[in-house]
Symmetry: C2
Subunit: 408 residues, 2 copies
């Protein structure tokens, strides 16, 4: 019974906000573009474009960066985005570690700090640790508060769209009385955005990785947990209750082991990090007293270890069951595999593609590329920072005024 999107109404000021947001996005995307070119593409009048660009320049968001090539007349003055005018903070609360990055407006990491920590059962300690690390990053670069746009936080739990600071009581029961968003907001006095880790990995790939091409992307996080992040029409899709992309508990083997969720043969029990390392211990033997790690598995596979390859083959086969369903159901333009194990690249992609081919329509397959991430282990923390960037590029009032940061 609903019809159009509930867009907000517009008055004169809203009109300016909308147009200037559009220009800001275009300048950010194009990296350098002249006023004339903007006017042609947006179909805004040259005078309006000039006025808006002047606004944005005033705010320290864009600047002139010299002349472009002539098209048969006066040379255009190129406008560029001030990538380093502001900073973004990205926090990743992982299963067993906390990572913090400080990035510029182009996703480049200025500082990072990381600490091992058992996040799952210790909300207070984790948050305290995160606070220290953030402070460390801010101090390291002597970044004034004024130049920080906001903070993104990746959490290892689905978040409900209606209460983005609350963790799922089923996944992180110890966190039931904590509101992450609120806590960071009061601690650091800046805008805070919270989302699920896989969703932010997806956002990261969409902005900085393999997703440059389109606006429909699926990211699959292969780690302790298995989760997918969906980018639909350029935005993170969370589903009605925030649990979209929770593919870790899709049953893929009816004879598989019992999972904590109560079901049998869940994807995570077969290809989660724990399952992989256990299987590695069986096939590759113990390495030292603690047994092989995922890293050992990756290195083994690269070195040509038959057991490691066998494990990854099996992983691809199981994963293909879920990916096949995903392809048929969502038909994304690209699927990106992330997480440490994905660094084996083709060794995982080959068996995965073979498995998918047995399960997906050839039409869907033809339209979808399946690749591994090239962003490295900071992808999710950077994705958290990107959430802030995405919001600010849409609503430029999120950028602090009176910029005192560097404007290079």
């Amino acid at each position: 019974m609903r019809a159009g999107t509930a867009v907000l109404t517009v008055d004169a000021a809203g009109m300016r906000a909308q147009n200037s947001g559009l220009l800001l996005n275009m300048i950010w995307r194009e990296r350098q573009i002249s006023r004339a070119e903007i006017a042609r593409r947006t179909e805004l009048s040259p005078s309006t474009v000039s006025a808006i660009v002047a606004d944005l320049e005033q705010a320290g968001l864009v600047r002139s960066i010299g002349a472009g090539v002539s098209r048969g007349g006066r040379r255009p003055t190129l406008i560029g985005f001030c990538d380093e005018a502001f900073s973004l903070v990205g926090v990743e609360l992982g299963a067993s570690h906390v990572t913090v990055v400080l990035t510029d407006l182009r996703g480049r990491v200025r500082t990072q700090s990381k600490a091992s920590h058992a996040v799952r059962g210790d909300p207070e300690g984790s948050l305290q640790k995160a606070k220290e690390l953030v402070q460390e990053c801010l101090d390291a670069e002597r970044v004034p508060r004024r130049s920080v746009v906001g903070m993104g936080v990746a959490v290892p739990s689905p978040v409900h769209p209606a209460s983005p600071g609350k963790m799922s009581p089923l996944i992180l029961p110890a966190w039931k009385n904590v509101d992450v968003k609120e806590w960071f907001e009061t601690t650091f006095d800046m805008p805070v955005f919270v989302d699920n880790d896989a969703n932010l990995g997806a956002l990261s790939e969409c902005f900085w990785g393999a997703g440059s091409a389109g606006e429909d992307l699926t990211y699959i996080k292969l780690a302790t947990g298995i989760g997918a992040g969906l980018i639909i029409h350029g935005d993170v899709y969370r589903g009605a209750g925030g649990t979209a992309g929770e593919i870790g508990h899709i049953p893929v083997d009816s004879n598989g082991p019992l999972c904590v969720c109560g079901l049998r043969g869940c994807l995570v029990t077969l290809i989660g990090s724990t399952a992989l390392t256990e299987r590695a211990r069986e096939l590759m033997g113990t390495r030292g007293r603690k047994g092989p790690t995922v890293r050992d598995l990756v290195e083994g596979a690269r070195a040509g270890d038959a057991a490691a390859k066998q494990i990854i083959d099996g992983m691809g086969a199981y994963l293909g069951i879920a990916v096949g369903g995903l392809l048929n159901l969502l038909n994304p333009a690209i699927i990106v595999l992330g997480g440490e194990i994905s660094s084996v690249g083709e060794m995982l992609l080959d068996p995965l593609r073979a498995s998918v081919r047995q399960r997906a329509l050839s039409v869907s397959m033809a339209e979808t590329r399946i690749v591994t991430s090239t962003l490295g282990e900071r992808a999710i923390a950077v994705g958290a920072a990107t959430l802030v960037l995405q919001a600010a590029l849409r609503d430029r009032t999120l950028f602090p005024t009176q910029n005192v940061g560097r404007t290079a």
Copy 2:
């Protein structure tokens, strides 16, 4: 590498278009609402609201419908939508039939006509048949061309977002040289919108059926083919290549029969109409010389026939595998089952829910309602008409000017 939605720029006229679109939507949704109430909700000034309402009244889209109850002062004049000011045409090209409906702007069917036809292999004949039926509907109600907003067409094939008139060469090879959109546009000289049948079933449910509540809905069409339609943020989601929702070829039984698509144990080979009637023939015996139909199965189940119930139980179990994955992956607010067989209601829902419970996270299940459609067999044709309505409510210039239709 993309950031914000590619919204169009706004000038003064665009501002008016946006605001008046918003008002039109609100009036349509609320059915009756006063200017003062609109102003409060939209935060537009009372004078602006009056001006826009006058515009819409001029265009014959809304009208005064008497006074409302006082809130302690002068009684408000309620504005209502002119549901019958214009007509919409909806065409369904099914696997074996062509259905045409003529509806008003509230989805009520004014006339309908239907004919059996082997659509699959005969594009020319099918289109000719559709043309006749459309003409029949228009003549029956003496609807002047002027008052028809446009035509929606449901096709039994995925359509690529880039070329919405072209059928998939793999699903409907005989249609490879036909552009359905173009054909109807030149034949009837009105705006034409084409989409996949399951997608339009979903739209129908979203507007007129069980989806009233939210904006995330999944519709599953259970017929000769099995397909899902996804409504995401209030819009049909087609995926990167237009094949989103093609769940019919998800393998659910590795020992199942070979499917035309080359895979084994596809959902459609197990619960498609053909599979159901064949199984019915085995268990229930032949009825007459042609064997039992889906209708016989429904009636049998209702009458308490054990074999029919057994078939539907099995169907629910298989379907649950796909629905479980869908729940974990997309987490829609509601899943609606459509198609003739869905009319058995709880008899199908019970085994389905049981099957899903073994495959989906309880969190996802808790947030999602699973129901059967109540819209009947015209749902998809009406959904096609609704596609036109949805477009016109967003862009009121699609409504013809000089309305000569009835304004009741």
